[in-house]
Symmetry: D2
Subunit: 373 residues, 4 copies
């Protein structure tokens, strides 16, 4: 079903951009997982708008309120949420809606938005203000689930981190696929603009500012790394790591491509240059001496860093006049979109990619508990 994800976990996301509240329920999550409130809020803040000139100036504080599934513990370092094993439920109250900005769009679908398809599917009554359930705002509840999953994974020795790989033509450095640590993975997320190479970040912000000044938008990509996965995690053919990760990654609005390891660079590769030979380290561990496959073979983890990237299309809401049609009049028209929009969604998407990956990996890990029993 469209609003639910997972095999062992069931993550269910509800609400729309202009509803009174949005939120999530998470069933099947282990009990006893501890998540400091400060960590949750910091994670949510990375996704929230209003962080800098590269993001929309809308203010959405995104404070999750838990109504079930967690207990609260007061510690010296502040409040800690502890999962209690029952279905978890959290809501975020919507504020600062400016429905008026969208009202004129009702009849004229915005190019490259979900409007037209949603209207053909559900009819005139579907509520698309602010994007309705198609809004990127619904990635906020995904981040709540993701924050808990990241905490669960950390306690199992698994770390996940992502960074902006490219904005327009500007590229960041890539994660080292053979030598990656939790510290390296988390470093970009500690910066206000999540990159490995600060100079590349500077140039990216320039790209975004140019787009913003031109009332335009620009695309980009995110690279994500995962370490600590047990060898063999995943399956084949239908529940492989690539399939399960991509399935949730494509739920992030604007993601249009997902690549594992060398991805499309494999097209011009040879077996002799793009295979990953095995070798033994001085301390006796079996590793691959290259990692073209991004840590996955046969749908299963090799134990090497798992590396994937995903491409984001430019934010479809731009200031320029665009061709569209009046559905009621049945004729061509021109559309000018008002409101506040992100000239580039990629910086805010970084924690969302981490959250999506964390949910998928947690789900797989809980599934896999059947082996070796």
């Amino acid at each position: 079903m469209a609003n639910s994800y997972g095999n062992h976990l069931t993550l269910h996301i509800f609400g729309g951009s202009h509803d009174a509240e949005i939120g999530m329920t998470l069933e099947g999550f282990p009990k006893g997982v501890r998540l400091p409130e400060a960590e949750l809020l910091a994670f949510m803040a990375r996704r929230a708008p209003g962080q800098g000139p590269w993001a929309t100036s809308r203010k959405e504080p995104d404070i999750p309120v838990f109504t079930a599934g967690v207990t609260e513990e007061m510690t010296e370092d502040g409040k800690v949420y502890v999962s209690d094993g029952t279905p978890m439920r959290a809501v975020i109250l919507n504020q600062n809606q400016r429905s008026g900005d969208y009202a004129s769009l009702a009849d004229v679908p915005r190019p490259s938005h979900a409007d037209y398809a949603a209207r053909m599917k559900f009819g005139d009554t579907v509520d698309l203000r602010g994007g309705g359930k198609y809004s990127g705002r619904l990635t906020a509840p995904l981040c709540i689930a993701g924050a808990f999953c990241l905490a669960y994974l950390r306690s199992h020795g698994i770390a996940i981190g992502a960074h902006i790989l490219a904005v327009g033509a500007v590229k960041d450095a890539s994660f080292d696929r053979l030598d990656l640590s939790a510290e390296k993975l988390h470093a970009p997320g500690l910066l206000p603009f999540s990159v490995l190479d600060p100079e590349a970040g500077e140039a990216m912000r320039g790209e975004i500012e140019c787009a913003r000044m031109a009332a335009d938008s620009v695309g980009g990509s995110v690279e994500c790394g995962i370490i600590g996965l047990p060898v063999g995690l995943g399956d084949h053919p239908f529940d492989g790591m690539e399939g399960r990760l991509s399935s949730i990654l494509f739920s992030i609005p604007a993601v249009k491509a997902v690549a594992f390891g060398d991805g499309f660079d494999f097209v011009t590769g040879y077996g002799s240059t793009h295979n990953d030979p095995y070798g033994i380290t001085p301390d006796g561990r079996i590793v691959t001496t290259a990692n073209h496959c991004g840590g996955i073979v046969g749908g299963m983890a090799t134990g090497m860093p798992l590396i994937f990237s995903c491409a984001f299309k430019p934010t479809p809401s731009i200031g320029a006049a665009q061709g569209s049609v009046s559905l009621s009049a049945g004729e061509n028209t021109t559309l000018i979109i008002k409101g506040r929009h992100d000239p580039c969604i990629v910086p805010r998407a970084v924690p969302v990619v981490e959250a999506a990956a964390a949910v998928a990996v947690t789900d797989m890990l809980l599934d896999e508990r059947i082996y070796g029993d």
Copy 2:
């Protein structure tokens, strides 16, 4: 579960490379769908080995035997299979196994194959002869299901076709994303080597022959187009067309990236150049006047041709000596793989991509019957 795919349909694939038989069951498939045996066999033959110098010389005739779910009707044009609405079941008997070729591999995992991860996951007893359940051979049962789904979709005005987009550095032309017909989609599949541009095909065969002569292998990509989809097919966020298609596409061995529409080219794109404006055709249809998004927005079909591509890594089995480890001895060693292998898997993968897409779209279409009731 790893061997099953689908929401409304359940496609279940069973068997391993060196088992007596492999096959599939398909539950939830509509009754009354007619598939001429000749069409099925022709489809299977496109995937089967032994077609030309670009493929392994192994002979696997891949004749499906149906044990449930279809009735056979004799017509002037030969036998026709008709689905009867009960779970369908078909097996393919394995022949021509040369287990000896693989016996020496038991202890030394082949680079970029599933061997090592599978052994760590399932232990020493897992049967990996010929790749076991990880073998590309298991795409044959997928093609049986795909052939029936293609017949079902055809009767609903939906056509699917794919072609080799690239082999190494050689590129084929691309499908026209604004003007695509069933005829154009099916044209490549009628050729022994499925391309749009015969000259590109010639060059690709040269690339493959070079790899073969060098006992090496080469990667490539496949592009697939789908027309006739109802506007709004798919959903959001978790059952979008990208997610459901990618989930089954990554079940095809060697697929490492999936891209919809402009895919990674969106990274360097702008909203002003990469949005898809709407317009009305002279005969009153609403179309997009560009199709960067590949026919999908908000996880739903726009009604324009759906276009995606996927990257295949080079066949990991190559003739050169490769570094590996002896699992029993715990030391580095060198591995030389014998046996007959495809220097490039991409030509044989074209119908598999069509089959996978057909299964996913049929599943979505059956799911969607709830709307507009």
Copy 3:
């Protein structure tokens, strides 16, 4: 997952007895189904407490508030809810909680309630005030979904109705299994106390009053009939009508047995007396001339009235002192339960059984749309 039901539909129920709100989401429900608000409220009222001396005097008005998935239409006869095809979401605000009444129960589990098992499963932090998520109160959201499903089924010629079959030793008449109409099915539900035979109802109320006066409780059973099912609806072996109906019926707190047709009376029956022969009516319809099997063979509907009954245990909350244990002290103790409780839950359970059956049948009907395509 424990809070979700359905194949094609996904009904998800959330909240606990003492949460701020309880509610449901319903995915996959067809669009365009019309449900007058008055009909919904009347249906909810049949389940709500406070209807008469046979029920708890607590007041829970149970007014559903829809936050997604429906549009509201104002007609001459009042408001009508119309499903819009997107996931439906409704909440009921909890009021009139008297947590104090339950506070003393925290350490001493109530006999035949979920307390002890829930505490062993989830630990001390699980919130069991008022029964938490185990409370019968959670059948209110089930009734919201049920009301919509009943409206959907009605538009497909399917009617569902139930009545109190027994309270203690007092029995109502049974539905006529060969000649049943929507009018007959709905008649009991129009009464304040849902029976076929008013005299039996009078005697049942006497039984309940006796139990109430004795601070005791009494068990009972409900019979439900369904007409208009397409012949062949259901499946075998794992998705048969008996299995899918029982699976949701056992989610109603206090249901401990489910029987189809003759149920346990089959034990003493013979094939010669308990088979259902086929015959043709004067107007050419094929019917069974008996209906021992309750309208289901091989997990599928025969087209005759579907008849089942379910047994309810006595409300476990009674006024008498009961043996229990102090979990913290690890010693035997005596428990006296205060608060307001139903001396017999069966009268209020009648619409819940109808709702559960309606959800199950709607789910099956939507699943079955694959046949005869």
Copy 4:
């Protein structure tokens, strides 16, 4: 889907009565579970026909052949199957089919069999020889899965056993609900006719012989007990133990009612007499001092013996002439069923009930691994 059961496990059953083979696949089953071949065959033999005058004289040896998912180990005590963690697959070759016996039934549906409903659902082409996929024969593959699950559960301290509770008016003793051991549970299964009280068994065989002599059939019931369940196993509302057990129990042909604990006897019970108080044993364990609820509250195990019973209708195939209709002629007719049939299916159903319960409990146990992580 109709042929698959399970959340964490996926049990898939395939084939029909007159197919060349029937069988099962089982995904998600833990690796390393050991099942001696002798134990498997003995378990299968309890279900197989031809054991005595109370069963059909057909011979179906029911020898499972494993094609995947197990390794074979030779020990002093004979062959042992060991699950290897990959999907398990076993087939049973059909033999001794006498299709001719059924050929005349094609047009005239047998009363209380699935024939008519299946034909209306799937059309004339559905293969119903020997009952097709509706045949009780398909419980043989269920027993293969059940034997493995019983072995898995045994290694987790869980034992399951069943016995014939009633045949016609003759009743066996019941399991002791407060004091039950693996030995007591397994005792009936060691007898050729599975009862607790040999005298009752004698009388039951008399009942069955009477029915057989009269070319009639008789109904009955089976009681099943389970010990060793962790307190809290199960869930609520939708994945409770009653719901999950009943869902698979109703997949056994002829089961028409399922009751937990006191079942329908709760109808005439009072809270004061039918609640289960808690108490502490001398050695400090918390128990219930009665067990009316059959070891389940709130859908969860209480830790006391889980007790349920299910009613079986009389075998619908009887020798007497029965009313039916000719579907082709559209007129009433009389049907005489030939062939060899069980005058009472209950004795052979005992291991099937154990198998179904074992599959359900194993699935729940694997699901529950998420808690307390």
